[in-house]
Amino acid sequence: MRRRTFLSAPLLLPALTLAAPARAPIAYPAVGAGVRLAFPRDHGAHPDFRSEWWYVTGALDSPQADTGFQLTFFRSRPGTAEALQSPIAARQILFAHAALTVPGERLLHAERARLLHAERAARANLGAGFSIVDCDVHIGAWRMSREDRRSGELFRLQMQSPQFSYDFTLTPSQPLLLQGDGGYSRKGNGPELASYYVSWPQLQVDGTLIVDGKRQVASGRAWFDHEWSTAILDGLAVGWDWLGVNLDGGGALMAFRMRDARRATLFAHATWRDAEGRVRQFDAADVSFTPLRNWSSARSGASYPVQMEIRIGELTLRTRPVLDDQELSASRPTAVVYWEGLVHVEGSLSGRGYLEMTGYAGRLRL
């Protein structure tokens, strides 16, 4: 599920809602169990579905340990201009969001840790595009693509912004991880609330990172997610908490929960693949999120449980953010405030991953 508030999005201007028009409802395909995903075809876009995202989060060890990065491409089929013949009709809208958590160098300088981010938006065929046969999506010069090289397959991430830029290759060290039932991942208490969800943990990151005009060689570990769906958010849900962790030693852990207005869990799920490749799925009854410490944002006034205890079956994990203030405000498609950032995970298992918390600064609408 998750990501990107883009989803929720009234487009650009508050009154220009991208929600499916009431007069001409379009038939989005339903997400159902039992579909066999095929790769690299299913790394590509699925433009018939209402929404889709390709999402990479990671932690760098060099040039500086605990540098977090994130790059997301989000595709939306809002149901507008469907009847238009024009090749540039706004049938498919792409958004991209990039962030960088710079931990700061407390010893040498008094430089403070900070979170940088940048975003782009475009319609397909007009400065942006995607492939339907492989992962290759771009907005302008920002691009996420999969390539087959002699040494094997890899992903390439390219983005530039005035504050920071990066050009990374992500080399798999493990096979793909199909979430839920062979990629069919339920998001709520109803079979229609589901997505197709493919993860690729433990990707080796290499490349260059430019921050404040300084170009540096970078390396680290990343997590790739690709998810497409038509409906995922329960009518009662106001937001979600999501966590994806590259565990020390090679394992991978994903957990999420949907929250209602009282911050109670509506639905939850977790997947744990250990270093040997054994996958265990945990249902809502086995997954719980308990806030340990809240951090309040002076900007939005929202309070986020940046430190949580997460129980998954017999496992007990605690999150510890590298920086409390990893609150983001996406101005496009509309102003949406959420928290997303690099955290350390400690407890029964240890590692680093990304924690995303939405709906704390107001109800998230899909």
């Binding site: 009154a15 009431a22 238009l84 013949q85 706004a90 809208i93 400065g127």
Partner: protein
């Protein structure tokens, strides 16, 4: 001797002298001030108006184009930028965003006034043209911009009386789009009347397929524009161009540059006239006070102080004059922009009156310019004052000139040399695309005229004064012949002002005659029909082709524009139905008409195009036509006074064979014999329905000539001012010479000359000086008129014309000026008759 202790006494003395000077020569001083003020006012007003007009134009451009770092567009206005090129450009890492737009003109519900429809992509537009961002309205029928509604600027909504949710039909040629108003454009300028819609909907309804009008680029902050642009220009397809913001401003300033420079030269003339008046005033002032200055000199006022005192007095005229000029200039600027628009009737910018915003630095610069002019005028009198021999001045007053006044060969050599230099300068090509050498020629002609004045005066009047004549006449003649300095000062003012006035009259008249002839040639048909910027509707064209249409002949024309150089205004492309073998039947050629040696497209270029791009008949030209570069043969150069930045005519057949789409916008119509009124009645319904414009050739001719006259309105006003100043200069100098010759006149009075005879002598003197001035002025005027017609006009505006001197007008002008000069001399004569004879004679030794 002056010591530091009595500096303040010196200050008081200077102040006292200035005050005395102002009091005793109130009229002269005020007029000098006025002249300086006029020059400053004119220059400053032109500066203010142009500044405001350019800002207004830039603002208008910005409000529809935003402020992109660069624009990728087609060179041919009928062309477009392929989507593939936009998409490739977007992937350039140096490009932050490329905002594609489709711009077209549509008529709303068959309203006769077309408005701009801009198809944009809200995702990219926000970064480049935020002023065009639409605001969705709750009353809209459609959910959002992608669903196909249009957004109108508040001004347009108000004009149409429409509200969000209302339906409307947009019409462009054959295509119609029925849609609704979904909201407004809150950030557009109040002047703007435009529509915005989603780019895909505009493309769907009006095209172009698989392409857009242009891509507006915002570069990444760290990208270097010039490097990026150079690299991109190399791989850009031939039909496209890249235009940066500085190109836009260069083009803007090119648009009105020549016109502006011409007006500035006129301002300079006014300023020079002001300097001349200061010169005349101060010279007489120095002469009249030579005894006082000599006395002060004996009392210890150093020569340097005497020099400074006169300069100070010049400044005392220049400073208030300039201040007056600044305020007058501001008032003029506001008045003219309200009356004539930002281009003073030149027709380069939109009709809206731009806002005049004065800035400090230019105002100070013009202030300094005015002061400089008055100081320049005061310099020679100051120098004379410094070099006066004190003893002589104390006893016998001001010494005019110690130099010999014989007609030596060297005195003939100077004007001859100047005339020769002027002739040589007139042959030079333009500098910085301005006729600077031409202006220098004009200055030299004036200098030659002034330099020849003493020679002519002495030769002519010296000879005349030896004829047997009544005493007053002989005295007047001798006075003129023997007091060259004063006579020269008086005459040169008239020479300059009359020469400039006559030359402008000659130039404007030549131009008007040429335009008149040209209109005869370019308006062969009795009726002309045109649509405004959109193609003529096909049903009308079909109806015109049927036999019952009351027309003997119809010629269609389509217009487009080509960008040959992004820094220059576009060149008009006229696709016309004319015979390839006989273009001279329709185009007024200035030279040979050639046919291409091999089969290739044939074009005929206008004279401005020939001058600007340096292409001639028989040469091959590479034109950015229809998305590619096409080599065309130039079959001839034709006269065109309508399009200053160049025009190319191509036959419809050639255009079609190049793959062009001929969409006529203009028709030339020949009604059946005797059926003109039937034809007009036949056309009335479609004109009403499609919002077309019909004009008969007489009306077009009348309108063209009235626009022509309007654009020279400012010039006429200036000429009148110059003439007044010249006449006043004459009066002032004559009065001064009367004062200088007080003793002589008093002697004459004592010898029995009555007031009438004295007055006649002075007035005759004035008439003689004016006569010489006018004679030389006329000669110079004809010379300058030819320079304006044959050098300045072709170089500044790229059009040529034959010289046509309106003799009756020029001679009548000279006669009126002469009469006015005689009247002006009355002022001096009155002074002569008021002399207290006894007192004057007594004060002399």
């Amino acid at each position: 001797m002056i010591t530091a202790g009595n500096r303040s006494a010196l200050g008081t003395l200077a102040w006292w002298l200035i005050r005395a000077q102002f009091r005793s020569r109130r009229a002269a001083t005020l007029l000098s001030m006025l002249a300086i003020g006029l020059g400053v006012a004119l220059g400053y007003a032109i500066h203010l108006i142009n500044d405001a007009a350019l800002a207004d134009f830039a603002r208008a451009m910005k409000s529809v184009q935003g402020d992109p770092d660069a624009v990728i567009a087609a060179r041919d206005s009928a062309g477009s930028v392929p989507l593939a090129d936009i998409n490739q450009l977007a992937r350039d890492p140096a490009v932050l965003v490329v905002a594609p737009v489709i711009e077209t003109r549509v008529r709303i519900d068959d309203s006769p006034i077309p408005v701009s429809l801009i198809g944009l992509d809200v995702f990219s537009a926000a970064a480049v043209m935020p002023q065009l961002m639409p605001r969705h309205d709750d009353r809209a029928v459609l959910d959002n911009i992608f669903a196909g509604g249009v957004y109108a600027s508040p001004t347009l909504l108000e004009r149409l009386g429409l509200r969000p949710g209302d339906a409307l039909t947009l019409v462009r040629g054959e295509q119609r789009w029925r849609t609704t108003i979904s909201g407004d454009l809150p950030a557009t300028h109040p002047d703007e009347q435009l529509l915005v819609a989603d780019i895909a909907w505009v493309q769907q309804r009006f095209g172009p397929a698989e392409a857009v009008s242009e891509g507006r680029v915002r570069l990444a902050p760290d990208a270097d524009l010039s490097t990026w642009r150079t690299t991109l220009a190399q791989r850009l397809p031939a039909g496209l161009l890249i235009r940066a913001a500085d190109d836009d401003s260069a083009r803007l300033s090119n648009l009105s540059r020549a016109y502006r420079v011409n007006l500035n030269v006129l301002a300079l003339v006014a300023l020079l006239t002001g300097a001349f008046l200061v010169f005349a005033t101060q010279l007489t002032a120095v002469a009249q006070r030579s005894t006082q200055f000599a006395l002060l000199g004996v009392l210890g006022l150093s020569p340097r102080m005497r020099l400074l005192q006169v300069l100070l007095e010049g400044l005392a005229i220049g400073l208030p004059g300039s201040l007056l000029g600044l305020s007058l200039g501001y008032i003029l600027a506001v008045a003219f922009t309200q009356l004539l628009g930002g281009d003073l009737g030149g027709g380069y910018f939109s009709d809206s009156a731009p806002l005049i915003v004065p800035a400090l630095v230019p105002a100070l610069a013009f202030l300094a310019l005015g002061c400089l002019a008055s100081l320049t005028g005061a310099f020679y009198p100051a120098y004379l004052n410094r070099t006066q021999a004190l003893a002589q001045a104390l006893t016998s007053g001001f010494s005019q000139r110690p130099a010999a006044i014989v007609a030596s060969p060297s005195r003939l050599a100077l004007p001859a040399l100047l005339a020769l230099a002027a002739f040589a300068l007139a042959q030079l090509p333009p500098l910085f695309e301005l006729p600077l050498a031409g202006y220098a020629t004009i200055a030299l002609v004036l200098a030659a005229g002034i330099a020849s004045a003493p020679l002519l005066t002495q030769t002519m009047f010296g000879w005349l004064s030896e004829r047997p004549l009544p005493a007053p006449q002989r005295i007047a003649l001798q006075n003129v012949a023997q007091a060259p300095l004063m006579a020269q000062v008086a005459a040169s003012g008239l020479i300059v002002s009359f020469a400039l006035t006559a030359s402008m009259v000659i130039m404007v008249s030549s131009f008007r005659v040429a335009v008149d002839h040209w209109l005869d040639h370019v308006l062969p048909a009795p009726l002309y029909l045109r649509s405004k910027a959109t193609p003529l509707p096909q049903p009308l064209l079909d109806a015109l082709a049927t036999p019952d249409a009351p027309f003997a002949r119809i010629e269609r024309m389509a217009t487009a524009s080509l960008t040959l150089d992004p820094r220059r205004p576009k060149v008009a492309l006229l696709v016309r139905e004319l015979e390839r073998d006989n273009p001279a039947a329709r185009l007024p050629f200035t030279g040979p008409v050639l046919t291409p040696p091999v089969a290739m497209p044939l074009v005929w270029i206008s004279e401005p195009m020939h001058e600007i791009y340096r292409v001639g008949a028989g040469e091959t030209l590479r034109l950015p036509l229809l998305g590619r570069e096409v080599d065309v043969f130039v079959g001839g150069v034709w006269r065109d006074y309508a399009r200053q930045f160049g025009a190319v005519v191509i036959s419809r057949d050639d255009y079609l064979s190049l793959g062009g789409d001929f969409q006529p916008t203009d028709l030339a119509l020949w009604p059946l014999p005797g059926q003109q009124s039937v034809a007009v009645a036949w056309l009335a319904p479609p004109i009403e329905r499609y919002g077309l414009e019909l004009a008969d050739s007489a009306a077009i001719r009348e309108l063209s000539l009235s626009i022509f006259d309007k654009s020279f309105a400012v010039t006429y006003a200036l000429e009148a001012a110059a003439m007044l100043i010249g006449l006043f200069g004459l009066a002032v100098t004559l009065a001064a010479s009367v004062w200088l010759r007080a003793r002589e006149l008093a002697t004459l009075a004592a010898l029995g000359f009555d007031r009438r005879m004295l007055s006649t002598a002075v007035m005759l003197e004035g008439a003689l000086i004016a006569g010489v001035g006018l004679l030389i002025g006329l000669g110079c005027g004809v010379a300058i008129g030819s320079v304006l017609t044959h050098v300045v006009n072709p170089q500044a505006f790229h059009w040529r014309m034959p010289l046509a001197i309106p003799w009756p007008m020029v001679v009548a002008g000279a006669a009126i000026t002469l009469a006015a000069a005689v009247l002006a001399s009355r002022y001096a004569a009155r002074q002569a008759t008021r002399l207290a004879v006894a007192q004057v004679l007594a004060s002399a030794q």
